[in-house]
């Protein structure tokens, strides 16, 4: 024990086998992230947690922390690139916050606020992604999917149901439901499933519960995402 590295000049202790983001969050140092979740194996796809290690960029959720590393994270250059990633996520899907039940509890929105994204900058794709309202308790709105694969990992690794998958390649990658009909109603997914609770955006919506916590009193209304360091617990509590 007591191996250390530095992130933005702050000394962080490393526990055996920790990635950079795990060690940083444990030490109370926020690194922006969307596809990372403390309870799941890293996916390394959103690239938001990219940091500079010894002058080279790498995803902090897939890079093991090593003694003596010099890591830069909260720099104008990295935050500019993170904002660009967020802008691309916003134009790729249909992210209309005023009509989204998850507004205020959304990590994508909160991270965009934190990085001062004033517009999505690029041309919008306006894709056509029909919703799946077949399930009695859960609405799936694919318009907001950012392909973080958390529902895929949760359903496979925790719920043991393997109900979701990412299908297609490149720009055509999309989330699918693992049922012959392709409809959520034809799976055994239920409200207690981890997969239903981990979505960082507004794809999985509990029917009849959308506004239990009013706009203005939600997780990221209270404080910005960076002030939580890792907002996972606060979001999980709100989603119950």
């Amino acid at each position: 024990m007591s191996a250390n590295f530095t992130i933005d000049g702050k000394t962080v202790a490393i526990a055996e086998g920790q990635t950079i983001i795990q060690a940083a969050l444990a030490a109370g140092v926020y690194i922006p992230h969307l596809c990372y979740h403390p309870e799941f194996k890293p996916h390394g796809s959103c690239k938001l947690c990219t940091v500079k290690v010894g002058g080279r960029q790498s995803a902090s959720c897939t890079t093991l922390a090593q003694a003596g590393m010099v890591v830069e994270s909260d720099t104008p250059a990295l935050n500019d690139e993170r904002r660009t990633l967020i802008e691309m996520l916003f134009v790729e899907g249909n992210h209309f916050c005023p009509s989204c039940e998850r507004s205020g509890d959304c990590k994508l929105q909160a991270t965009a606020y934190d990085l001062s994204m004033m517009s999505a900058h690029f041309d919008h794709f306006f894709p056509n992604r029909p919703v799946d309202a077949s399930h009695p308790d859960v609405l799936l709105d694919f318009n907001r999917c950012i392909l973080c694969s958390l529902c895929v990992r949760a359903s496979r690794d925790v719920d043991g149901k393997n109900a979701f998958a990412l299908c297609g390649r490149g720009i055509k990658t999309h989330l699918i439901v693992n049922a012959k009909s392709g409809r959520l109603a034809d799976t055994d997914v239920g409200l207690q499933d981890k997969a239903v609770q981990v979505c960082p955006v507004g794809v999985f919506l509990r029917k009849d519960k959308g506004f239990n916590v009013p706009i203005g009193k939600r997780v990221f209304d209270l404080k910005p995402v960076s002030a939580y360091v890792d907002a996972t617990a606060a979001l999980a509590k709100e989603q119950q």
């Binding site: 209309f96 205020g104 606020y113 004033m118 517009s119 999505a120 900058h121 306006f126 706009i215 404080k223």
Partner: protein
């Protein structure tokens, strides 16, 4: 600078495919309007009823682009204003009107004017005075260069006040936590 004779900045505003909510929120700066009017003078704006757009320092545009007239007005603002501000969700990402973008326009017109319940012998309006709708609703920055953005649906009066002060002071608007909102 296109400052008026009184040394004030000339500001024009308009609402395209919007709901005037951003204009109402702008008026919600309440008595701070008096402070603002020490610095600016309105040109064309629904707030003062001037119809012709003159040379301006700042153009503030609410709403996205849903028809040909919207594009015409936007281009006129771009030609006449040194800086353009897109205000509100619709101006920035199409907002509520853009919820039609995944449907084909003929299908929408058909549904609204022909096949909806209670319509008999409906006709799709075809008067040459009516601006033609665009196939997709577009945010402003996809058609002209936009200099500044004030997000929100609508942005709060405090957010508008902060952003305008930043812009008039000559720098990028910075809205911190609590002021920056997309909803």
């Amino acid at each position: 600078m296109t400052s008026s004779a009184k040394g004030k900045l000339k500001v024009a505003t308009t609402s395209l495919a919007g709901c005037f909510g951003c204009h109402i929120s702008f008026l919600d700066i309440d008595e701070r309007l008096f402070d603002l009017l020490e610095l600016i003078e309105f040109d064309r704006s629904p707030l003062v009823d001037i119809k012709q757009l003159g040379k301006c320092d700042i153009g503030i545009i609410e709403g996205g682009l849903c028809n040909a007239e919207n594009v015409h007005v936007l281009r006129e603002f771009r030609r006449n204003c040194n800086s353009l501000i897109a205000i509100g969700a619709c101006a920035i990402n199409g907002g509520l009107p853009a919820q039609r973008n995944h449907l084909s326009l003929p299908l929408i017109l058909e549904e609204v004017y022909h096949t909806s319940v209670g319509l008999a012998n409906g006709l799709i309006p075809n008067d040459p005075e009516l601006p033609l709708p665009l196939a997709k609703v577009r945010p402003l920055h996809e058609v002209v260069k936009i200099d500044f953005f004030i997000p929100g649906c609508p942005p709060s009066a405090d957010a508008i006040w902060k952003a305008l002060n930043d812009i008039i002071a000559g720098h990028e608007p910075v809205l911190g936590h609590g002021l920056i909102h997309y909803d």
